[in-house]
Amino acid sequence: MTLPAAISKRLATRRGRVLRECAIEFMLFLAASLSVFTTLAIVYILVSESVAFFRHVPVIDFLTDTQWTPLFDDAHFGIMVLVSGTLVSSIVALALAVPMGTIIAIYLSEFSTPGIREFAKPLLELLAGIPTIVYGYFALLFVTPILQWLIPSLPGFNLLSAGLVMGIMIVPTVASLSEDAMRAVPAALREGSYAMGATRLQTALKVVTPAAFSGIAAAYILGISRAVGETMILAVAAGMQPNLTWNPMEPAATITSYIVQVALGDLPHGSIGYQTIFAAGLTLMLITLMFNILGHMLRRRYRESY
């Protein structure tokens, strides 16, 4: 068939089509890479302000000093003080949220009726929707007095009660995502276990949980990120006292509560005190990044292969 006119017309429309497709693909690519730009921007902002900070404060001091008093006359910049507060409160939160979230997830996915699940899950997710400032006062005015009644020596501000309430707040994140992962386990696997004569708990613990492990790990990691990054609860209930401690029964400041404190305060921009929040933010970012990379590796290693 030699129809030059028809063919050249087809070629013309084809070129137009290919061009349009490329343009669209490029735009979609831009949208996807926006996330990379966001990260770069975050890193840029944090690093550029931190550079000025580290010109004043040697990195070694930053990492090894045991005091954090950047705004005082006698300034010390030992970030470990804030890191310890952050880690202790996160550990307390996770010690509550991980078992509780996992148990709830197993219960909802393997034990409860669909009716209960459909009803309880969104309600539980509401826990994640309550403004964290409300939790802050809940910790301070409700949980702390109860804990003080149990442990008379407990000070009015402490990491324990802030951490526990933070744990409650994270429970829905852990429970909901883990439950999604468990429900994604094919029914065939579950039925295979039941057909062997296993009970619900055996099926849940020995078959469903391992099969959903990578999803559950992702839920834990997100929970950790939430805990490490939580701000208002700690700002209200943990005492904001820069205190290098690994004891949850003491008041302490965390990275986030320090940042929000400075953001609310009377500090002039450009001062060394102001730059500390970026150095602290950078530390926070690095900590969460570490956990996320860990999570990524876990997921890679245990990717669902059912």
Binding site: E21, S35, I42, T199
Partner: protein, 307 residues
């Protein structure tokens, strides 16, 4: 089966079932702790805040007198910020999700983007606040405007939207895609006529869940410095005279619900704690309504399209 073996097996089963029951009870207790906390917080706010909730509470501006203070500028501000957030996050998030599921080649660049998105989902919201302060407020000179806050929260919920989009797209069977391509559709036609429409309920669910989270965010908004007394509304987007549409509101100063609540909680007068509870109650109702909408959408999705 012989009798001893039967007895033995029965006792094993009985033991297993006992553990089932124990676990079920533990599960219910855990669930109850969670649900009771929600209920307690909710009821507490309701009991404290209800006396203040009236029509005036919604139509009054904030005031130094607790009884006449209202949340007009706050809920309008929240709504406008959410509109900006949704309008930016939905197209960008959906586009990014579509790119990653439908277009992205398997190479290191895609890997980088994917790791990035999971990582961004875990970045503390206060870090977004720092980003917005440096980038939107100062670099772009947007100031403490509706636009700056909306964009900040859009960045914050973008990972949620992208993940929801990808899940929704993944649920579409390959047969749909192949059916479309086999008829000679281009990739974009396939996306436009199939992928996007079929995943839309899932995308919207993700967006709403993201927005429900964003609407309660305090820290990043405080960081951009929007802790402000505002007793007026931005100019409305619809004007009586041509060109009828106005985007002035994008650059207007604003306040939002959690900020208003935060402001009230830190007042000396006890009467303001009532306002704070009332504002908190309404904020939770807003998230509740959004989550409800998301659940309804999810339900619709399941009922209408059954692969």
């Amino acid at each position: 089966m012989d009798a001893p073996r039967v007895r033995e097996i029965r006792s094993v089963i009985a033991r297993g079932k006992r553990w089932d029951v124990v676990f079920a009870i533990v599960g219910i207790v855990c669930l109850m702790i969670g649900l009771l906390t929600v209920a307690a917080l909710f009821v507490d706010m309701a009991v404290k805040g209800l006396p203040r909730i009236s029509l005036e509470f919604f139509t009054n501006f904030p005031s130094r007198r607790a009884e006449s203070a209202g949340i007009l500028s706050a809920w309008v501000g929240s709504t406008l910020v959410m509109v900006v957030t949704a309008v930016t996050a939905v197209p960008i998030g959906a586009a990014a999700g579509v790119y990653l599921e439908e277009y992205a080649p398997r190479n290191w660049m895609t890997d980088v983007i994917e790791i990035n998105i999971t990582n961004l989902a875990g970045v503390p919201s206060i870090v977004y606040g720092l980003l917005a302060l440096g980038l939107f407020v100062y670099q772009f000179g947007l100031g403490q405007s509706v636009l700056a806050a909306g964009l900040t929260l859009a960045l914050l919920i973008l990972p949620v939207v992208i993940v929801a989009t990808r899940e929704a797209i993944r649920a579409i069977p390959a047969a749909m895609r192949e059916g479309s391509y086999a008829l000679g559709a281009t990739q974009w036609q396939t996306v436009r006529y199939h992928i996007l429409p079929y995943s839309m309920p899932g995308i919207l669910t993700g967006v709403i869940i993201g927005l429900a989270r964003a609407i309660g965010e305090t820290a990043p908004i405080i960081t951009i410095g929007a802790l402000t007394f505002i007793a007026f509304l931005p100019s409305p987007p619809f004007q009586p005279e041509p060109p009828f549409l106005s985007f002035e509101w994008l650059f207007a100063p604003f306040t939002v619900m959690p900020i208003q609540m935060f402001n009230w909680t830190s007042r000396p007068e006890a009467a303001f704690q009532v306002n704070a509870a009332a504002a908190g109650f309404i904020l939770v109702l807003m998230t509740l309504a959004m989550n409800g909408l998301a659940i309804w959408l999810r339900y619709r999705l399941r009922r209408n399209i059954n692969w």
